[in-house]
């Protein structure tokens, strides 16, 4: 009997287990570059996550519509993380080996990024975290697989202070001012704090920290405090419903919206559209791009993807801020592959390790970008083995009650301020993990 029972149990287990892994691997042999897509289309952060995911997937579809990356078609698969770290890790594990191996992961969650930072080096899969993730991972010598392309939270914080300084008529005028940071109480929200405190010491302004608990729908007390303390500016570092709630509370406590400045994750349509007039005058940083419905790449997406009925999301959201962020993120990944092909063979499927080389040697100049349809959307990016960020251009846009409009010139983060902090934090990380940073020689390999 024991045998039979055992056999039964074992075979039943085997069926369940194999069905969990098996199915799609069969298709893997085709010559396709596999892009896993970690998304969150449900849960508290879905309104924001969905737009990003749509942009990401649409761009991959666009590349395929245009013939792939030098003829290599892209395959992709979505996995729902619900913005939860453990589910993100499960998705990562599930997708990393699929369809011939994942090209690059973009988790769109700082928490998941922290967890994957430990795993990516083992699996040799690069991690692109455009505009989020660990700020010190800019240092490619230590964080060899992380790519916080286009900007980190520290860049955001530094530029935010630059912008406020400019509005005040010079950073010297910041002395004695009070700047409140209303932030999402998570690694994401805490990232800017060290930079703000550092700058506060330098310029002599006071930083007031006001954490908001997940998911951010309860902010009455926070805004009462703001009303009491009357900070000169409020930096909003929220995500999802926290942003619109903050704006509503600002409206109902009468805090002037034009004294509020959001990070680029707090400056998209879902954050303001329902507050509409109430959010008028509110500004947010941009990760270079804003809402770009008129850009060439968006037109291409509409023509080549949506016109054929293959669009991922609603057509009228194409070109919105977070959509563009997703699209740009996908583009960066694709360009990493393209660059890698230059070295390892055009028209071939690249491994994660090869793509890392591509991402480390990314050099998108304005001409290339313009030709890809990104004219006016973004500025050149050039990465290196030691600089995994590539550029730190930031603009500010302002909500006029019905749409976002750019309201500032280009800023660039002050490397003199950030570089030492990045080096310090990354070397602390290297010490903890007993990592030996890469030397310039190793980079050349």
């Amino acid at each position: 009997m024991k045998l039979r029972k055992f056999a039964l149990t074992a075979s039943a287990t085997a069926v369940v287990l194999s069905s969990l892994v098996a199915a799609p691997t069969v298709l893997a042999q085709a010559k396709e570059q596999f892009f896993p897509v970690l998304v969150y289309r449900t849960g508290a952060y879905a309104p924001n996550g969905t737009q990003w995911a749509n942009g990401y997937v649409d761009y991959l579809k666009l590349v395929n519509a245009k013939g792939g990356i030098n003829g290599v078609k892209i395959s992709f698969e979505e996995c729902e993380t619900a913005y939860a770290t453990d589910r993100g890790v499960e998705c990562y594990e599930r997708l990393k080996g699929k369809n011939g191996g994942a090209t690059v992961f973009q988790p769109l969650s700082t928490g998941v990024t922290f967890a994957l930072t430990e795993k990516a080096p083992v699996d040799k899969i690069p991690l692109i975290t455009a505009g989020y993730g660990r700020s010190e991972s800019q240092n490619g010598a230590v964080f060899t697989w992380n790519f916080p392309l286009l900007g980190t939270y520290w860049v955001g914080a530094e530029v935010a202070i630059q912008h406020i300084g400019k509005k005040e008529g010079g950073v010297a005028k910041l002395k004695g001012k009070k700047i409140a940071l209303v932030y999402h109480d998570s690694p994401y929200g805490k990232e800017p704090i060290p930079v703000l405190q550092e700058l506060g010491k330098t310029y002599g302004f006071e930083v007031q920290l006001l954490p908001v608990a997940h998911p951010g729908v309860e902010q009455k007390a926070t805004w009462l405090q703001i009303r009491q303390q009357k900070p000169d500016y409020v930096l909003l570092w929220g995500w999802g419903v926290m942003n619109s709630t903050a704006l509503r509370e600002a409206q109902s406590t009468g805090y002037p919206r034009d004294k509020m400045l959001g990070i680029w994750w707090a400056g998209a349509e879902p954050d303001v559209k329902d507050v509409a007039e109430g959010a008028k005058g509110y500004s947010a940083l941009t990760l270079q791009h804003g809402a770009e419905p008129n850009s060439k790449v968006v037109k291409e997406v509409l023509e080549q993807v949506y016109a054929k009925g293959q669009g991922t999301g609603p057509k009228d959201e194409v070109g919105q801020v977070l959509y563009m962020r997703g699209l740009l993120s996908a583009m960066l990944g694709v360009e990493g592959v393209r660059k890698a092909q230059e070295r390892y063979g055009k028209g071939k499927v690249m491994t994660g390790e090869q793509v890392r080389w591509g991402l480390e040697n990314l050099n998108l100049d304005q001409k290339t970008l313009d030709s890809m349809g990104f004219a006016g959307v973004m500025r050149p990016v050039q990465t290196s083995c030691l600089d995994h960020m590539g550029s730190s251009w930031v603009r500010v846009h302002t909500w006029n009650g019905s749409k976002w409009e750019f309201s500032s010139d280009w800023y660039q983060a002050d490397d003199k301020v950030l570089r030492p902090m990045v080096m310090l934090a990354s070397s602390k990380y290297a010490d903890e993990k007993k990592l030996k940073p890469r030397t310039p020689e190793e980079c050349k390999k």
């Binding site: 449900t42 729908v217 009455k220 007390a221 926070t222 405090q225 009303r227 509503r248 109902s252």
Partner: protein, 309 residues
Amino acid sequence: MGFFLETLIGGLMAGMLYSLVALGFVLIFKASGVFNFAQGAMVLFAALAMARFAVWIPDWLGIGNPALANTLAFLAAGALMFVVAWLIERLVLRHLVNQEGATLLMATLGIAYVLEGVGTSLFGSDIYKIDVGMPKEPVMILEGSFEGGLLINKEDFVAALIAAVLVGLLALFFQKTATGRALRAVADDHQAAQSIGIPLNRIWVIVWCVAGVVALVAGVIWGSKLGVQFSLATVALRGLPVVILGGLTSIPGAIIGGLIIGVGEKLSEVYLGPMIGGGIEIWFAYQLALVFLLFRPQGLFGEKIIDRV
């Protein structure tokens, strides 16, 4: 002083909304002994329905008048909540009569998941707007008495008023109508109520319907304040300390408890928060409830439990 009053008023108004959520808990617990964890999901579901119907109904019927559209949407959402209540009784509760409290609690957690799933599949998981014309801008009063005046949030004020009216209506319903009396009888003793011919199943449907309407009103108010999206379901967690404080079986308890929790958490966040890092209001509400519990295990107005051997 002005600021203290502002905080106090803000807390009272937030508390009134908590009472509204707590009321949903109390209604159902009183009549059926079910601790309804799905109350938050019901709020979400109702608000989603309301928000979407307010857009769909004008499309279907070609109605231009927003007030009329809102009214119709409210009625449609209300009807939908009745259906939900009926289904819950039919498919779930009927089969769990006389089970332990813990089992019923788990069942409502299951209901919560189903409602969240069905709600977001039917109505979408984007962020939606309920615009019932709530005033958004604040007003200042007593500017002569306090420096800077007292800022009153009109939206909160209106919301608190609506909540207060609803609470009043429910109290009347329970005291004055035959159905209300039957509900109270059921609450006091299931078997006795059944033996004098009160149909338990119907009573349960009614009480879940009432809770559905309460959820709808809460959903409209919160949805209009915050936008309708997934996080609305978490308002249930804000209502829990309230019922614990007020007592699971007491309607006045839900009201007073809501006010105490509302004021307590706002004052603590504003005055205590900055000293210890902020963001304390959620756990403070729970700790406050817990401290009360240690002195009065049945809550402020709950019925005393005596062990019989």
